[in-house]
């Protein structure tokens, strides 16, 4: 039977300062993509994703956060990337689902869950995002808002293939 849930690539941050990484030449043979990560940043910052190197204000998201004391709603419109995680030197985990990524008819929808355990900004979060572009996604870029990924941070891209 063909593999349905398949790792495409893994990138592990080495000792050198890295603030961005890209999964390029993504096969168009899957239905959904999943980006799973575990890592930290040199400074408190967002970790965001972009598609096909699009740095334009073509992204947006609706947000639900839990801070440990309150539930928070927010929205980001006309942004230059979608949130994947938010942390400092504390290890944080995140999973972003990129739905129906290889179709060329609809905009691309994402669903992200992340958690961070920083002492000052601990959150658990769920985001729904959108990239306003009908192009098939061929690359995913992950980047920090400020600082660098800490060595040992790991990012894995998976493909899920529907029948």
């Amino acid at each position: 039977m063909a593999i349905t849930y398949e790792p495409i690539a893994t990138q592990t941050i080495s000792g050198s300062a890295t603030s961005t990484l890209t999964f390029a030449s993504i096969p168009a043979t899957f239905t959904d993509l999943i980006l799973a990560s575990s890592g930290s940043n040199s400074t408190l910052s967002d970790i965001k994703i972009r598609f096909n190197a699009d740095t334009g204000s073509n992204y947006s998201e609706t947000i639900l956060l839990g801070s440990g004391s309150s539930a928070i709603a927010a929205r980001g419109s006309n942004t230059t990337g979608l949130n994947h995680n938010y942390t400092n030197t504390s290890i944080a985990a995140a999973i972003s689902h990129i739905m129906n990524y290889s179709n060329s008819t609809t905009y691309k929808s994402t669903m992200t869950r992340w958690n961070s355990a920083t002492s000052t900004d601990p959150y658990t979060a769920v985001y729904v995002g959108q990239w306003r572009n009908t192009s098939a996604i061929t690359s995913v870029t992950v980047f920090v808002g400020s600082g660098n990924f800490v060595a040992g941070s790991i990012f894995t891209l998976y493909g899920i293939k529907a029948a």
């Binding site: 039977m1 998201e61 947000i63 927010a74 929205r75 929808s109 306003r132 529907a162």
Partner: protein, 199 residues
């Protein structure tokens, strides 16, 4: 061990390929734990999407999909085994982009699992929904589901992100699942795929 694969046109010394693996260049069979069962894509005239004759050989099920409604307001709902009786309960945590709140969907003839993008939004927009149906083949317990769902319209219409939990008050094994948007038609290119997860 040396492995040779002979072509039909070759002989014992020609037309043969040498391999160092018993696979002889073939793809290894891998018995996966996460398997695709079925995919349904709406044609524009579909008022529901049904996965029927679901194999009972998995531990859990997952449904992944994107959807749009031609109108505003309907929710994405789920029914099992054609049961349209008042056997479902739902509750949720939700953000509409400005307010976070929790609520109860009540006891209904269906379970709430999400929202399609409303018809007033851009034609290219779709919602995202991931539904986990746990221990679906068990005949000793009621069935629970978790749904992670939402859509965003870049603040042109609205947007929601939700976590839903559902209870189907039946101990029957689930053999079919129907998704619908409360009487509306799924817009073309709304698509849902069913996966089985082995335990």
């Amino acid at each position: 061990m040396t492995v040779y694969k002979f072509s039909a046109a070759g002989s014992l010394t020609t037309g043969r390929t040498l391999y160092t693996s018993m696979l002889a260049g073939n793809t290894a069979f891998i018995d996966g734990s996460y398997e695709s069962i079925s995919t349904v894509t709406a044609s524009g005239s579909s008022s529901s999407i049904t996965f029927s004759s679901i194999p009972q050989t998995y531990q859990h099920l997952q449904i992944r999909g994107t959807a749009k409604s031609p109108n505003a307001g309907p929710a994405l709902v789920i029914q099992y085994n054609g049961d349209s009786s008042v056997n479902y309960k739902s509750h949720y945590v939700e953000s509409n982009g400005s307010t976070a709140y929790a609520g109860v969907g009540g006891t209904n003839t269906y379970g709430y699992v999400g929202y399609p993008v409303p018809g007033s939004a851009n034609a290219s927009m779709r919602s995202a929904t991931i539904i986990d149906v746990l221990d679906y083949a068990n005949t000793n317990k009621n069935k629970t589901t978790r749904s992670l769902t939402g859509y965003d319209t870049n603040n042109t219409v609205d947007g929601y992100v939700d976590i839903f939990s559902n209870l189907w008050m039946s101990t029957s094994a689930i053999t079919s699942i129907t998704l619908s948007i409360q009487g509306e038609l799924f817009v073309v290119n709304s698509q849902f795929a069913l996966y089985g997860i082995k335990g």
